[in-house]
């Protein structure tokens, strides 16, 4: 029942990610004339499903616990002295609530600052990270189930489900890469200028791929996660053009003069993540016998691979000089961004370590 619920929650999360890709395209190509645009409705649908399904599962488990039907302290946690359910479901519910709360705040922010508010604006961050928090809860739910299973086919299948959900979560984090392919892609700290895209990429890649390996300890774990990311990317690239055409025609709207010729979000999602994943998986197979060194060595390798990937995935290099900064020297900007990129990669590896510890030990 819990794993079936986790599958529904995963689909809700994917709905939000695809809805957000549509919304980013809508903002850029058409413009936001009201709160309940078609992509906003899809995003809200994903958030509502995350909240309602997690609540239903919490209530169901509480009821089962009261009737002594297999829900107990070994496989769930007491919450607010009333509920008995896996802690991951509470995290999902709170995350969905924060994301839902972000919507009216975001509407308010747009009334003051206009329709082209950047992705890294307060309530865009609240919305995205609310859903990421909800997805983290789903990961804890699945990991808890897998950790209580004995090794075998069922545990293997559950781990695959975990890795797919991890890929969906990583895709949601990577939505913020779009900022790196916009006019705000060049950022400044005082007089220091850097390109946002490689910094964000280097932060997010280790979080997803190292967590995949450390939690499941299976060959190919990082690759499965990367394939899930690419599947979400393909879904965005397939769904958004048709949805745009249909909704714009149905509402009798017109495209803005600045409407892009490509799908903004899928264009920003990194294809090179598959290569990074294969490398990380290969290294894990080689390093696994060194019990005390496998974690720090893989963390270092993961960070270095993430930095190297920023050389491969450079959609910003085609867009920023063409549309926004005609004098930009791409190579020089990548080099100038390197210190911050390396720091982000190290931070990503550190966060993966923290996240993985909790997930690997999750039982309730």
């Amino acid at each position: 029942m819990r794993l079936a619920g986790a599958a529904v929650l995963g689909m809700a999360a994917a709905t939000f990610a695809v809805g957000t890709a549509w919304d980013i395209q809508w903002h850029t190509a058409v413009g936001r004339d009201r709160t309940f645009t078609p992509p906003h409705i899809l995003m809200l649908g994903g958030i509502a499903l995350l909240g309602l399904v997690s609540l239903a599962l919490i209530l169901l488990d509480t009821w089962r616990a009261r009737r002594g039907q297999g829900v107990n302290a070994a496989n769930s946690s007491r919450m607010f002295r009333v509920f008995q359910a896996p802690v991951g479901l509470a995290v999902t519910g709170f995350g969905a609530a924060l994301a839902a709360l972000a919507f009216p705040f975001d509407d308010y922010w747009h009334t003051i600052y206009g329709i082209d508010v950047v992705l890294l604006a307060p309530f865009h961050v609240m919305l995205g990270f609310g859903v990421i928090m909800a997805e983290l809860g789903v990961l804890y739910l699945i990991a808890g189930e897998a950790n209580r299973m004995t090794a075998g086919r069922t545990q293997r299948a559950t781990h695959v489900g975990f890795l797919v959900q991890l890929g969906i979560t990583l895709s949601t984090i990577m939505l913020y890469l779009v900022q790196g392919t916009s006019a705000q892609g060049l950022m400044h700290i005082g007089s220091y200028s850097y390109v946002f895209y490689p910094v964000m990429l280097a932060l997010s890649v280790p979080i997803g791929l190292l967590t995949a390996v450390w939690v499941t300890r299976r060959p190919g774990a990082a690759t499965v996660t990367a394939l899930a990311v690419l599947a979400v990317r393909a879904l965005m690239a397939t769904f958004v053009p048709g949805a745009m055409s249909a909704a714009v025609a149905a509402e009798g709207l017109t495209y803005r003069p600045s409407a892009p010729e490509f799908i903004v979000t899928s264009n920003a999602m990194p294809l090179g993540i598959l290569g990074a994943a294969l490398l990380i998986d290969a290294l894990y197979v080689v390093l696994r016998r060194r019990a005390t060194l496998v974690v720090p060595l893989l963390a270092l390798a993961g960070a270095l691979i993430a930095v190297a990937e920023t050389l491969v995935d450079q959609p910003w290099a085609a867009i920023l000089p063409k549309y926004y900064y005609v004098d930009m020297n791409v190579g020089a900007m990548w080099l100038a961004s390197l210190p911050l990129t390396a720091l982000a990669a190290a931070l990503g590896a550190g966060l993966a370590l923290l996240i993985s510890r909790g997930l690997a030990a999750a039982r309730q």
Binding site: R32, G95, Y108, I112, H124, R217, L354, R357, A360
Partner: protein
């Protein structure tokens, strides 16, 4: 039985109320603002029935000043000023219950600032266009630091949860074991 009957009566009342609310509501009292606008060959009066506020719809009516032909057809949209980061918003139009020659409309004003209510009319004298000014008032402006304090709530929550779970698990949670196949 009595309960069912009461439910049916209340249900009907709700349906009637919803149906009435679905149409354009009659306007009470005087408009808050009125403008004399020349829409091509057609002189009209544009009335605003609420103060324009960003994030809220503006209710308006367009009434021909000279009585006017009943076959006059109107379209309207709110067009943002050059300093307003927004796109034009089409108005929802319908008959004016208080004036058989006029029309009533509602248009959303998504962003603070200067807008124009652009009106296109088509009638026996041909097509025409005219504008009425709109100043969409801003809501109370939240300081940016407060926006970030609220906006970062999920980030703090995620970090707090992850750190707490990691500390509970301890450093031995990621000990290497033989590779699972």
């Amino acid at each position: 039985m009595r309960a069912l009957r009461s439910l049916a009566v209340y249900g009907m009342l709700i349906v009637i109320w919803l149906a009435a609310a679905g149409g354009v509501a009659a306007h009470n009292g005087a408009p808050v603002r009125s403008f004399a606008v020349q829409v091509g060959p057609y002189p009209v009066t544009v009335n605003y029935w609420n103060e324009p506020h960003a994030g809220q719809p503006l209710r308006f009516t367009i009434v021909p000043r000279e009585g006017g032909p009943a076959t006059l057809h109107y379209q309207a949209e709110a067009v943002p000023g050059t300093m307003v980061d927004a796109v034009p918003v089409r108005a929802q139009m319908g008959p004016d219950p208080d004036n058989r020659y006029g029309v009533a409309g509602e248009v959303n004003l998504p962003v603070t600032g200067q807008w124009l209510l652009n009106i296109d009319a088509t009638g026996s004298a041909g097509p025409g266009s005219g504008d009425a000014p709109i100043i969409a008032a801003s809501p109370v402006v939240m300081p940016e630091w407060l926006g970030w304090l609220i906006g970062l709530l999920p980030v703090w929550a995620i970090l707090g949860f992850v750190i707490a779970q990691a500390r509970r698990a301890g450093s031995r949670a990621l000990i290497a074991t033989p590779l699972r196949v």
